[in-house]
């Protein structure tokens, strides 16, 4: 099918068909779980680059749900907290609040250089310099920013552990 040329209702039909054609298939399918892993994403004061790449991953160009993940808007529904940004001192309270709202069995994953150790924004009067100031960082996805494909691959790896 060529690009969408028609106008009117027919073009809408083509747009639907295009969207279906794009339905991405996850490269690797995880072993079936009873339910998908709930992801809650929190930006804590970086340049927003990592957060926006995760937003791309959540969008329709990637197969996040087919890979066994679902993004949630309430921390109470989340299994994993994906944290981006350098953790400003003001945001520390928010991180704590969101973390506490998550159910037991939760995991914390630092996405991007800022979230691990502040990256280009190490500790200062306003920043803590990443999660490492609050807790040992056991799960991290490196990059500045990591591409959505890299984030997805890393999440799949982590899900296998």
């Amino acid at each position: 099918m060529k690009g969408l040329r028609q106008t009117g209702p027919l073009s809408l039909l083509y747009a639907f068909m295009d969207a279906r054609r794009w339905c991405p298939s996850s490269e690797e399918v995880l072993p079936r779980r009873e339910r998908p892993i709930g992801l809650y994403v929190l930006e804590t004061g970086g340049c927003e680059g990592c957060f926006m790449e995760i937003e791309s991953l959540k969008g329709s160009a990637f197969a996040l749900e087919q890979a066994g993940f679902v993004c949630v808007s309430d921390p109470a529904d989340a299994d994993w907290l994906l944290l981006t940004g350098a953790v400003t001192r003001v945001c520390a309270e928010m991180v704590d609040r969101v973390w506490r709202a998550m159910p037991p069995g939760r995991s914390l994953i630092a996405v991007g250089a800022c979230a691990v150790d502040g990256g280009p924004f190490p500790a200062s009067y306003a920043t803590l310099g990443g999660l490492q100031a609050l807790t040992p960082v056991r799960r991290a996805i490196p990059g500045c920013p990591p591409a959505p494909q890299e984030i997805l691959r890393a999440l799949q790896e982590l899900a296998r552990i």
Binding site: G45, M52, A86, F121, S124, Y125
Partner: protein
């Protein structure tokens, strides 16, 4: 007759567009009858207070001394200066006398290791976080924005009446980290000020540094910069459109935006640059090894086929955006709101038009000036079409334009780049080749004073969708 511009020029000229005013001249500038020049930005440090204004499409910078930590408030004349005064108080402890507004913190929500951290005499830490005023709040993680922004509201019958903003959660102390660095060292961080301007911020900075050094980039560099900026514009417009569409349950449109944006990112990656063009601009020009012609061709080929579908889908869903988050043109003019938000309301300022070497015939985007989310998205699409056209024109005559004459080196420069979300401004002063002083104005700052008016009457649950359609970056606002 005395005009604001004339009073400023009666001061001592210390750089291409910068005039030192004594306190009497400063006061005259703030009181002179007649037209008020549009304010781009206001800031102050321990030593001086500054206002960056627009005279026609040219910047003019006025500054005066700060005495006993005080200066006469620019907000007494320029309503949009209030945010800059609050930021300056939080960072330096300098007070704007006769200021408008309630003087609540812009950045310092408590929790910092000191008060007035950039002052030569910082105060002790203020302890824990301070509660914000207001009766209703959106927690920073609930705004739908890409970064933390504290918003408090006055609400009547579930609808917004007034908004107050505090951006402390996103403040990383970027400016303090840049002082004392060479511009080349600083560029790594400048490229990470906000993902809403991975190209625009470095470009404005590079232009400011070039002016400070008395240099002018050659036509080849200029053309590469223009192309990079247009690629970023298309990508960010698609991002903002996708977010707006999701806020309105127009998932099909969002899907097409996602795919077009990803196609651009892939094209960039395949051409050996980062997906979002991070670290492509440097002070002298652009990243070594960057092949602009194949990059531009690849991005053009990736984007062009999607445009017709996007335009059609926008037409289908646009009625959902009618009358949503409206900016009145008078407010846009008064607060110099730029970018798509300003232009969609009828303020026609586009700083690309004053650039030497710009292929003006490519910039044709026009559309509704109703100031609402529909007009913004319509304009985004028209601007994507223009970006493709502009890239074609540049590729047709790349690097061929005449050189411009270089200004004298004054160690001080102002640079601007018309980013996807508006005009990004950098002012830099060098000393012995290092950054002695710096100010950055992200376009999001000009939206803050009109945010209340734009959200007025909006049901609380729709505020995130409204914010998404405006395209704000907390990281850029707070730095």
């Amino acid at each position: 007759m005395r005009s604001m511009g004339r009073i400023i020029r009666s001061g001592e000229r210390v750089a291409l567009s910068h005039y030192h005013l004594d306190p009497a001249q400063w006061s005259d500038m703030l009181c002179v009858p007649g037209a008020t020049l549009p304010l781009i930005s206001c800031w102050a440090d321990d030593a001086r207070a500054y206002v960056l204004l627009l005279e026609g499409d040219r910047p003019i910078l006025a500054s005066t001394v700060v005495e006993d930590r005080r200066y006469l408030a620019p907000s007494s004349r320029f309503a949009g200066a209030e945010w800059g005064e609050r930021v300056s108080y939080d960072l330096y402890g300098v007070e704007a006398m006769e200021a408008r507004g309630n003087g609540t913190p812009a950045l310092d929500e408590g929790g910092w290791t000191s008060t007035w951290p950039l002052s030569s005499r910082p105060g002790p830490a203020s302890g824990g976080l301070r509660p914000l005023g207001g009766s209703h709040f959106l927690r920073p993680e609930q705004t739908g924005l890409s970064g933390p922004l504290d918003l408090s509201f006055e609400v009547l019958k579930g609808k917004v009446r007034a908004v107050d903003v505090c951006a402390g959660g996103a403040h990383r102390g970027v400016v303090s980290r840049l002082l004392g660095k060479t511009p080349e060292e600083a560029m790594v961080l400048v490229a990470r000020m906000t993902a809403g301007g991975f190209v625009a911020h470095p470009l404005a900075f590079a232009r400011a540094v070039a002016q400070a050094r008395g240099q002018v980039p050659g036509p080849g560099v200029r053309d590469v910069w223009m192309i990079l900026l247009e690629i970023e514009r298309m990508s960010l417009h698609l991002f903002d459109m996708a977010r707006t569409a999701r806020g309105m349950d127009a998932e099909l449109l969002a899907t097409h935006c996602d795919h077009a944006r990803e196609a651009i990112a892939q094209a960039c990656a395949e051409q050996g640059v980062s997906r979002r063009l991070m670290d492509t601009v440097n002070c002298g020009g652009f990243r070594e090894g960057l092949e602009i012609v194949p990059l531009a061709q690849a991005v053009h080929a990736a984007m062009q086929p999607s445009l017709a579908a996007l335009e059609e889908l926008h037409r289908v869903f646009a009625s959902r955006l009618n009358g949503f988050a409206v900016l009145d043109v008078r407010l846009a003019e008064r607060f110099a709101v730029g970018g798509v938000t300003g232009r969609a309301s009828g303020r026609s300022m586009d700083m690309r038009r004053r650039e030497t070497g710009m292929r003006l015939e490519a910039l044709r985007a026009t559309g509704s000036s109703s100031g609402d989310a529909r007009a913004r998205d319509g304009l985004r699409l028209a601007e994507i079409r223009d970006s493709l056209k502009l890239m074609e024109r540049i590729l047709g005559s790349i690097g061929l334009d005449d050189d411009e004459p270089a200004p004298d080196s004054t160690d001080e420069g102002i640079g601007v780049a018309e980013g996807a979300r508006g005009d990004v401004w950098h002012w830099v002063r060098l000393k012995n080749g290092r950054i002695e002083n710096l100010h950055v104005r992200d376009p999001g700052v000009s939206v803050l004073p009109v945010l209340g008016a734009m959200l007025q009457g909006c049901p609380m649950e729709r505020v995130p969708a409204a914010l998404g359609s405006i395209g704000l970056s907390p990281a850029g606002i707070a730095l």
